[in-house]
């Protein structure tokens, strides 16, 4: 076993250890055992960082891959199918090692932060236990090399998110939110499981490598439509977990959980799982499936952005911005900008974690005030939080010099390239929605910064009866009395070091130089070089497919090996076959090695559109920022009057496009009506049948009892009578006297003796 595998198993099991220790012993440990969670996650991060360093920095090989598996369940040879076995395994490549480091780092920082934020909660120890199992589940998804174990950990993520979202389960809203999250995820997971089954029915394996090898060898027995369906069904899992339209409704409600948990869910663990999973199955997605994914991503990005601009709850704005950014990632994957999407996943994880932890710091400092309308002027009181929050906001908005700019720009460039290649008018909708969302992002984040940090403190303006209005997510927590304290602002102060340090670290990771030396081009950074777009194994309408892939023993390996050199400076020549000539661009010295011309064209067009994207997106971002400035800083446009002027649109956004109401009217009411019909059916028909059967049985029992009383009992009584009589006779022999027994015994012996002797004589 490779040492990386061993280390990764240790990393995987450490959070589980934390969970086991804390769930059972937290009351026996000092400080309710929080140091156990923090220490274990710190260790896990240290080991993950070692793996990251050795894999990404030292090996510096895009095709790096270490895998290990073992047979978990051997079903033997099944008649009609052949040998069946379920394998479990671990794969470590660049993506895995990056995700490993990211997840453990953010989880560690969240643990550390929570020691301050959750201090005094009555379930403090259990909270850390849940964080541990959440991290464990996510690491399991990241390390899995097959669909089956991914599915197992996928459900574990669902379970742990359920536990954490409903952590303040005494509150009705939290309990509802956790159910909503769980059910929405179930819907997605059913699709995902069906997708897994389609693939399993064809290849009898869950392993990614084997599935891709079989696909590339053209062994998929069904039509291409089924393959598309399998891809879309698998993507449904991502729709649920990563809160894509139309299953996004759970994520904003999940804000009922503790704020550090929101950071963990939105940055590292849960929503990242969906995008990561789509990346894992990326090479088996057909162009049709990719189109669906791209459109869903674009819709999600745009819709969430429009909702975010009118929300007042500081966490809800961030929640919708997460949905919007996840839409970007899914859009990126859909348009084939694979590296860019994963790049955005990582950069987003850091700055979004920073934003959530920052909002947690604000909520903590303002004694559980979540409504931005009653904040303001916090920049002087909380300089550290202000600085880090602003930096992360710039990254989220996508301003140059930040990490968010690099990744978002790469996605948008890919979208333009995609639209150019596909050529259809409808496909231009995707980049247009993307750019528009970028503008909205800049606008609502500018609004948030302004409302929270600048101007006068407006806490005293808060209506007295307003704190039961959805803004008391933490009223049940900590035993503080929010009702009295928010009237005065003298209670607001900077958070302690253990909450400040994660903010600083995460803010630092939101700067461009961590990822790329060029503040304008992420493709020149290590990340996009290490995560090249893999070649698809389903390249439909590719005349060269057979020739190209037939000659390679393990096509899935080839898929990784057949990498691209994104921009000119990369000197390392890619191993693999020479692909399509479509990509010979003047300024590129590298060799394009795509077996699939469509993919190659998209990548190439994406590079070509790079500067276009920069110009447009910068313009849009600046537009958004200036709009925010105009509205909220200079007051040239009064937001309230504008809202009145476009009241239908405003309400449409404020009420989140009425998705909850639509679902309530359709699915929930529909389920209820269906349940009523079933109840009627149950009472009148099923019960009727049951009662009829019962009547019959009673009649039969009546007959039976007659037979029993007369025939069976008669026989039994007769037997008893016989035994009784015999006993009465034999009883005379039982005198109870020892000596008569001896006499009888000796008589018997003597009789035998006589018998024996007479026989001997004869």
């Amino acid at each position: 076993m490779h040492s990386f595998i061993q280390l990764s198993i240790v990393v995987l099991l450490l959070p589980l250890l934390s969970f086991v220790i804390l769930i059972f012993f937290n009351r026996k440990l000092p400080r309710r055992g929080d140091f156990v969670g923090v220490g274990i996650l710190g260790t896990a991060f240290a080991i993950s960082a070692t793996i990251f360093w050795q894999v990404v920095v030292q090996a510096y090989d895009p095709a790096f891959r270490v895998a290990w598996d073992f047979t978990w369940i051997d079903l033997g040879t099944v008649p009609g199918v052949g040998p069946l076995q379920i394998k479990m395994g671990i794969v470590i490549d660049n993506l895995t090692s990056i995700m490993l480091a990211m997840v453990t780092l953010i989880s560690f920082l969240v643990h550390l932060y929570s020691t301050g934020y959750m201090k005094g909660d009555k379930n403090y120890g259990r909270y850390f236990a849940f964080l541990g199992i959440f991290t464990f589940s996510m690491l399991g998804i990241v390390l899995s090399d097959n669909l089956f174990s991914i599915y197992i950990f996928w459900e574990l993520v669902g379970l742990s998110s359920y536990l954490l979202i409903g952590f303040f389960f005494e509150k009705q809203s939290a309990a509802d939110a956790q159910k909503k999250a769980f059910l929405a995820n179930r819907v997605g997971d059913i699709g995902m499981w069906l997708g897994i089954l389609i693939l399993y029915s064809q290849f009898h394996t869950f392993s990614f490598q084997e599935i891709y090898a079989n696909l590339a060898a053209g062994k998929f027995g069904l039509s291409n439509g089924w393959l598309t369906a399998a891809g879309i069904l698998l993507f449904m899992g991502c729709v649920g977990k990563s809160a894509q339209f139309p299953l996004h409704v759970w994520l904003p409600d999940a804000m009922e959980g503790p704020t550090p948990v929101s950071a963990l869910i939105h940055a590292a663990t849960m929503v990242a799982a969906g995008v990561y999973f789509v990346a894992r199955i990326f090479i088996m997605l057909t162009p049709d499936a990719l189109h669906v994914i791209a459109f869903i991503g674009a819709c999600t990005a745009f819709m969430a952005a429009t909702i975010a601009i009118t929300q007042n709850d500081i966490k809800r704005v961030l929640a919708y911005s997460t949905v919007s950014q996840l839409g970007y990632m899914v859009l990126g994957l859909g348009v084939g900008a694979y590296s860019a999407a994963l790049f955005h996943l990582v950069t987003h994880a850091f700055f979004k974690a920073c934003l959530f932890l920052g909002s947690g710091a604000i909520i903590h400092a303002t004694h559980h005030e979540q409504d931005m309308r009653w904040m303001g002027g916090l920049s002087k009181k909380m300089p550290w939080t202000f600085a880090t929050f602003t930096l992360a906001t710039l990254a989220l908005a996508g301003l140059p010099l930040t990490s968010g700019f690099l990744s978002k720009d790469a996605i948008l460039a890919g979208a333009i390239g995609f639209a150019n290649v596909e050529g259809g008018g409808i496909f231009y909708l995707i980049p247009v929605l993307g750019f528009f969302s970028a503008m909205l992002t800049a606008f609502y984040m500018g609004r948030q910064i302004w409302l929270v940090f600048f101007g006068e403190n407006r806490a005293h303006l808060k209506p007295a009866d307003d704190h039961h209005h959805g803004h008391d997510a933490h009223a049940a927590h900590g035993g503080h009395d929010a009702h009295d304290l928010h009237q005065e602002d003298h209670g607001i102060h900077e958070v302690p070091w253990n909450m400040r340090a994660p903010l600083v670290i995460l803010a630092a990771l939101s700067l461009f130089f961590v990822y790329s030396p060029d503040p304008l081009d992420g493709a020149r950074g290590w990340f996009m070089k290490m995560i090249p777009t893999p070649a698809t194994v389903v390249g439909a309408a590719n005349p060269q497919k057979g020739a190209l892939l037939g000659g390679v023993a393990a096509p899935a390996h080839a898929a990784v090996a057949a990498t691209t050199e994104t921009h000119g400076e990369s000197a390392a020549p890619a191993a693999g076959v020479h692909g399509v000539a479509a990509a010979s661009h003047g300024e590129e010295k590298g060799i394009h090695t795509y077996p699939d011309p469509r993919q190659a064209e998209i990548i190439h067009a994406g590079h070509a559109a790079h500067y276009t994207a920069i110009y447009i997106s910068s313009a849009m971002v600046l537009l958004g920022v200036s709009l925010a400035l105009i509205v909220y800083v200079f007051g040239i446009i009064d937001p309230d009057k504008t809202a009145l002027a476009i009241r239908p649109l405003y309400l449409f956004s404020l009420n989140k496009w009425y998705w909850d109401e639509i679902y309530d009217a359709t699915f929930i009411k529909g389920s209820m009506a269906l349940a009523k019909i079933f109840t009627w059916f149950d009472i009148n028909i099923v019960d009727g049948i049951v009662n009829g059967v019962a009547t019959l049985v009673r009649k039969f029992a009546f007959l039976n009892s007659g037979f029993d009383k007369h025939v069976v009992d008669g026989a039994v009584n007769f037997t008893a009578f016989t035994v009784n009589t015999t006993g009465a006779v034999l009883r005379k022999l039982q005198t109870g006297k020892v000596q008569s027994y001896i006499v009888m015994l000796l008589l018997a012996v003597f009789g035998y003796f006589v018998f024996y002797v007479t026989r001997m004589i004869h």
Partner: protein
């Protein structure tokens, strides 16, 4: 006459048989539990004589050893039996074995 003057195995066996017979008779007929116990001891002695006689005329030690163990076990048995008899006496105020027939019902 020679048979009578040369002491052989049969002489011992005859004594043994007579002791056994008397022992059995005591066990069967006497009502006093103590005398029954004496009968048992007679039977055991008869057996011991048999063991030792066969051992003597066979030249081995098996019979001797067996007789030794029989004596030990007889002692243990006598102790237990007497304890039981005393208990019976305490309960029934009698050692008449024919009146102790509560096993009957």
């Amino acid at each position: 006459m020679d048979q009578l003057t040369t002491i052989g195995l049969n002489h011992y066996l005859t004594i043994s048989a007579l002791l056994l017979g008397f022992g059995l008779f005591a066990v069967m007929t006497r009502k006093n539990a103590i005398v029954v116990l004496m009968g048992v001891e007679l039977i055991l002695n008869a057996a011991n004589i048999n063991f030792l006689a066969f051992s003597k005329f066979n030249g081995g030690m098996q019979g001797v050893m067996f007789a030794l163990f029989v004596i030990v076990i007889a002692a243990a048995g006598a102790a237990i039996a007497l304890a039981i008899i005393i208990n019976i006496y305490k309960i029934f105020k009698s050692v008449d074995v024919s009146s102790i027939d509560s096993l009957k019902e």
